[in-house]
């Protein structure tokens, strides 16, 4: 389970997240929507401490993953990132073979057992619905895959280290409808085993894949509720204006 309590986040003097409190249940898909620059990605990156890499940031409040405040001094960021995987908007395979891309997380974690690595790579590619398309060319460069295949490869890479939480920042925004629907199907299947948090600009995608939806505006979580309710009868007029396209 993920829980944040009164999160405030600053890039220098810029107040990017304002008093955000949220609970995300295990084995659910949660979508974050909102206008560009409202803080969705910033919020998502908090869950695996990706924002730590940026200079001059400041955080107050608590971010609790499986009962532990992940910003406690005792938390090892590497361990956290094994538990909380991330997939980005643009597929970013490494300049390695398909096999090595998926095996990467295991190797940096010092896994030596070859048979185990081979097994995990196959399992992960299967979970990412890519196995059938690549099983005969695992040694080929990842760059030889199409954009949609590369994105599923990145999902496989994230899955290989057996995370429990998968963060996805606009994972299908650069993909065609067929690849998009493969990713969406995948999200649907993966939620049996993982807790998934997805940022998307595609309202219909949020409606299709998520159980809960959070609407952000200017760094605030304006509304957070069941996706069905959000898209039939949102509570706040700001949400309604945004999802019906009357914003601005």
């Amino acid at each position: 389970m993920i829980e944040t309590k009164h999160i405030d986040f600053y890039y220098g003097a810029f107040h990017a997240l304002k008093d955000v409190s949220i609970r995300i249940e295990p084995h659910t898909v949660t979508a974050f929507i909102g206008p560009s620059g409202c803080g969705k990605s910033t919020f998502l990156r908090l869950f695996n401490r990706m924002n730590d890499l940026i200079d001059g940031v400041r955080l107050t409040g608590e971010c609790i993953v499986d009962g532990v405040n992940i910003y406690n001094k005792s938390v090892q960021v590497d361990d956290l990132r094994k538990k909380v995987g991330m997939v980005f908007q643009k597929p970013n395979p490494f300049p390695k073979s398909i096999f090595e891309n998926v095996a990467y997380g295991l190797r940096v974690n010092d896994v030596q057992n070859k048979a185990f690595i081979t097994q995990r790579v196959e399992e992960s590619l299967k979970s990412a619905a890519l196995w059938e398309e690549v099983k005969d060319k695992l040694k080929k460069s990842a760059f030889e895959l199409s954009g949609g295949q590369q994105q599923r490869l990145c999902i496989a890479r994230a899955l290989a280290v057996s995370p429990s939480i998968l963060l996805m920042d606009e994972p299908a925004s650069a993909l065609d409808p067929i690849s998009t629907s493969k990713i969406e199907e995948l999200i649907h299947v993966l939620k049996q085993e993982y807790t998934i948090v997805i940022v998307t600009h595609n309202m219909q995608q949020a409606a299709r894949v998520s159980d809960r939806t959070g609407f952000f505006m200017l760094g605030e979580l304006v509304e957070y509720s069941d996706t069905k309710k959000m898209f039939l009868n949102p509570e706040k007029v700001e949400t309604q204006n945004y999802i019906t396209g009357r914003f601005g």
Binding site: M203, A207, F231, L232, P234, T239, T244, R246
Partner: protein, 219 residues
Amino acid sequence: MKHTEKELQALKDAVSQMWMLVMSQLEKSEQAFINNDMELAREVVSREKRVDAFELKIDSDCENYIALYAPVAIDLRLVLSLIKISITLERIGDFAEGIARHVIDADCATIEPEIMKELRCEDMFAILRSMLSDSFTAFYSEDTVLSGRILSKDDEIDHIYRRSIDVLAEYLADHTSLIRCGLKTMLLIRKLERIGDHCSNIVEEIVFYVDAKVLKHQG
């Protein structure tokens, strides 16, 4: 106004026009009934096709809107309610035609005016007329304060309807030569009662659209 809003407005306007037509059909069938005006009754029958055409057009326009614009929230509720309202208006139009045909069939030339008064058909007509126009006001102004009043008028319709069964049964027991007329009159009253139900359904749709509340099947 954005073009998607204009499209929605056009859908709403079509339903408003259909509403006007159905109100006029109901009023004309009322006048034809009260004045036994065959001419007017025939006009109602011939204009029924226009009501049907409205329903078909609104149905396909709403389908297209959903397919093209994937509306959500209040827009989705509006389109869903427009589809249901136009189907319901079409049924009310059918009943108005049925009333006109009742006049044309002229099976009730010899029934006594007193008994017709006791059956309160004219009261039913007047109540239905106000239900249909009040619900139009509620729809047009997106205001549901009238909804309670409209729904309670339907209770009055139901009351008159139940009482008319007793009145007719008693009357026909002594006037067996008028059985055919009595049965036709009962069918007429049944139509009026059904129009009341349909007006209530329309009000429920308006409440769903405006307030996102579901009133259906609660009473």
